[in-house]
């Protein structure tokens, strides 16, 4: 069923006789989910105030539409959402509601926070069919519990988003990337040095065929100054090259997992304590990419690999984006119990994307 208004959505959930599988653009099919497909097409930008750096949009609004609208005003979504279409081999067009439900954040997460950090308000329909709101359209808000951030990364298991609100940032007018030719398992210390410097690094990763990459953004003179300083700071790790023209493309490639596009295999994502990256990369072997200073490791592994066992021990969690393994990391018992009880409160019939998060 295709849903175009919040009222339709509430009605559809209230009258649902069994599980529903919630679909935005269908570009992030992570985890198992059975049920009648419910496509959220509540679309359109409701409010955009560039002078207040805030935007409100229907959950079914295409991500591309939002990115174009804010770019036209010289602004951007701070968290640099990834497009996984190519890497996951899916068709379709990513929606902003799907981005929120999956809490998708790109390289700039190290500087500007995750999707959940930019999310300032939501409207959603819970499993009872009740229309609810939380947060709002202002940047600072501690009125009541923060269900807004709870909805980010809940993969449609607590409610179906109908509207989302974000704070934005001015887009940088200038950027540069420092490139060091290092192997994947030697990049993390260099990235940590950059992130531990006062030079306001907005990306720190490792890209196959390129090496360790460190991004700085801002006003032109400031970027030039910081690039210079970082060249000296990073010199002990290897020869440092400054990339200007190609800078944006490098980060788009890392963000959208371009090197993995069209390649077979299981796709894994590890969020760990960054200093564990070298050991993890060595244990996983093969095709990897690093982001967030090593705190995020992407791995493309042969089908059927039990990557969690292979990578252990690690401090954090692993998600299987494509493959037969359980998608989400098993949680410690007390946390799992709380999460289960929360789902039972928001969705007492257990009809929203049942089984998706395990």
């Amino acid at each position: 069923m295709k849903i175009e208004t919040e009222e339709q959505l509430a009605e559809a959930i209230r009258t649902a006789e069994g599980p529903v599988r919630i679909v935005g653009g269908g570009t992030r099919p992570v985890g198992q989910a059975a049920g009648t497909p419910l496509q959220v097409a509540i679309s359109g930008i409701r409010l955009y105030e560039p002078g207040a750096l805030t935007l409100v949009a229907g959950a079914g609004t295409p991500l591309a539409e939002i990115e174009a609208a804010v770019a036209a005003e010289g602004q951007r979504l701070p968290f640099e959402p990834a497009h996984w279409v190519a890497a996951l081999g899916q068709g379709g067009e990513s929606t902003i509601g799907g981005v929120v439900a999956a809490n998708v954040s790109g390289p700039r997460r190290v500087q500007a926070g995750a999707c959940r950090d930019s999310l300032i308000g939501v409207r959603f329909v819970d499993g009872r069919g009740e229309i609810l709101k939380n947060g709002g359209r202002v940047m600072k808000n501690v009125t009541g519990y923060d269900l807004t951030k709870l909805m980010a990364g809940s993969w449609g298991t607590l409610g179906v988003l109908s509207e989302v609100a974000f704070k934005l940032l001015p887009a940088a007018t200038s950027q540069a990337t420092l490139v060091i030719d290092l192997p994947s398992d030697a990049a993390q210390p260099a990235l940590a040095a950059a992130l531990g410097s006062p030079f306001d690094v907005s990306g720190a990763g490792w890209l196959p065929g390129v090496g360790a990459i460190v991004r700085i953004e801002g006003l032109a003179d400031s970027v030039a100054y910081r690039a210079d300083r970082l060249v000296s700071l990073l010199a002990p790790f290897g020869a440092v090259r400054i990339e200007r023209e190609g800078s944006a493309q490098l980060w788009a490639d890392l963000r959208d997992l371009a090197p993995f596009a069209g390649k077979p295999g299981d796709l894994w994502r590890f969020s760990v304590k960054p200093s564990e990256a070298p050991a993890l990369v060595a244990r996983l072997g093969g095709k990897v990419m690093l982001d967030w200073g090593g705190g995020l490791i992407w791995a493309l592994l042969p089908e059927g690999t039990d990557a969690r066992a292979m990578a252990a021990p690690y401090t954090g969690h692993a998600t299987c984006l494509r493959g037969a393994a359980p998608a989400f990391e098993p949680e410690p018992a007390p946390v799992a119990a709380l999460s289960r009880a929360l789902r039972a409160q928001f969705d007492p019939r257990g009809i929203l994307n049942p089984g998706r998060m395990g």
Binding site: V142, L147, L338
Partner: protein, 477 residues
């Protein structure tokens, strides 16, 4: 403001409850002599106070858990407390409640510069977190003005902000993990030194839950490398409207200052009389601070200057050295103290869309006249977080009520304009009964169901946040 009736049955069992607490805790960790519990009768919302049943001051997670288990079995409400600087009555007890204070749990447990985090016991003060990492060139970003006194546990419970959150975010954006002890005494680890939750984001729920979901005993906090430098400018304007327009233009121009602070005439005059910062004689002023190396700051402040000049400022003052910078901040930093010198005041913190700033200030001026109470405004303009200070005389009969009524009007105005009741201080008891202005019954019900999960018996700080009528049946359970 209505204060709920204490449970007489609990008060009648005081001796037994205190004895049970003493049996599981060291002798000096349980305080019940009225002269010793006095310090715990109120927080910074000092118009309201109430003696607690007793106070416990544990030194370890095990002691926190032991105390909570006793209270859980005895069905005694518990009010967690950090430093007691809440402006919303968040840590004020009721007569039938045990105050559980974290003051003795303030150790640094781990500092990790490579992964940029620090793990602390949650009773540690905000400023001393930065103190612990400063020598290595790092800092903890959220900086409430109360940072010398307030505890990380209180910051987490209130999701506190500060002057620099325009760039660095508030507590929830800088919190990586917590150790939480539930009312039943179970110890739960949520999050840690990695990014994002592997499942549902429970950390987001705990942060800002005002001590109602569990007692936070430890926290993993993100630390950041200190910028090379920072420098403010002060800009005076001939009206609030013009100052507001200048804020919007600075933001639109793509500059991201770390702070944009706003003071109106009543506030400027009061602070001037108090601390002689040498502020210009004007209707409104902005303090804009930018960070980086000297040349980078010049580049940003140069743009700020260009924009400001388009708005015919009464004065544009730059800081040539550290002393001048300190003088620019002096008045802003003394604003609350200055108000306290001349009057009693009530500090609101409703947030509004930045674009409606001039309109809201005009309406606050009108309301102030109607009620016959002065209102001074000092606030974080970049993010729309207002701080109207209503000045009144607590000794004059009726003024407290009048002040609260005006406060409620101002907060309703904030919500009407698309904003919210509180941007960083929390709901506590102060704004509890206004929650219906911002939320529907169903919205509040959804939030209360979250508390049902963590604290089914509704024993943790139960009379806060939700309107008493809305939470009545749950609290009676």
């Amino acid at each position: 403001m209505e204060l709920p009736k204490a449970d007489a049955r609990v008060i009648a069992r005081k001796a037994q409850i205190v004895a049970r607490l003493r049996a599981v805790l060291p002798a000096d960790a349980v305080i019940d002599a009225p002269e010793e519990t006095r310090a715990y009768e109120c927080d910074a919302l000092s118009a309201y106070r109430c003696p607690p049943l007793a106070v416990v001051l544990p030194r370890s997670i095990a002691e926190v858990a032991a105390a909570l288990k006793v209270c859980h079995e005895e069905r005694v409400p518990v009010v967690p407390r950090g430093a007691g600087t809440s402006l919303a009555g968040g840590s004020m007890p009721t007569e039938d409640a045990i105050v559980l204070g974290l003051a003795r749990m303030s150790a640094v447990l781990e500092t990790d510069y490579e992964n940029r985090f620090i793990r602390v016991e949650a009773g540690r003060t905000n400023l001393s977190v930065t103190g612990a990492v400063e020598a290595e060139g790092f800092f903890y970003a959220p900086d409430p003005s109360s940072q010398l006194a307030c505890a990380i546990s209180g910051n987490i419970a209130m999701n506190s902000g500060g002057a620099h959150c325009l760039k660095y975010g508030v507590t929830t954006n800088n919190l990586l993990g917590v150790t939480l002890v539930t009312m039943a005494g179970e110890v739960v680890e949520i999050g840690g030194p990695w990014s994002d939750a592997g499942g549902l984001d429970l950390l987001a729920l705990v942060c800002g839950s005002e001590g109602q979901l569990g007692v936070v005993t430890e926290a993993v906090l993100r630390i950041l490398p200190k910028p090379e430098g920072a420098r403010p400018v002060l800009i005076g304007f001939s009206s609030n409207e013009i100052a507001g327009a200048c804020v919007a233009d600075i933001i639109r121009a793509g500059i991201l200052p770390v702070a944009i602070e706003f003071m109106d005439r009543p506030c400027i005059e009061a602070t001037e009389a108090f601390c002689h910062a040498g502020y210009p004689d004007c209707e409104a002023l902005l303090i804009v601070e930018c960070e980086g190396a000297p040349a980078e700051i010049d580049e940003q402040l140069g743009l700020v200057r260009q924009i400001a000049m388009r708005h015919d400022p009464v004065e544009f003052r730059e800081a040539r050295d550290g002393d001048e910078a300190a003088r620019i901040w002096l008045g802003r930093k003394s604003a609350f103290g200055a108000m306290g010198q001349i009057n009693d005041y009530m500090c609101l913190d409703g947030t509004i869309p930045v674009s409606s700033l001039p309109q809201v200030l005009r309406r606050i001026g009108e309301l102030s006249e109607e009620y016959g109470l002065k209102v001074a405004n000092v606030f974080h303009a970049g993010d729309g977080n207002m701080h109207p200070l209503i000045l009144y005389n607590a000794n004059e009969p009726g003024q407290q009520e009048l002040c609260e009524a005006l406060g409620a009007e101002i907060l309703k105005l904030c919500v009407e304009m698309g904003g919210c009741l509180t941007g960083e201080h929390g709901v506590g008891i102060e704004k509890r009964d206004l929650m219906g202005v911002q939320f529907t019954a169903a919205d509040l019900e959804a939030q209360m169901r979250v508390k049902d999960v963590f604290d089914p018996a509704w024993l943790l700080n139960p009379v806060k946040v939700f309107p008493l009528a809305a939470s009545a049946t749950r609290r009676a359970g």
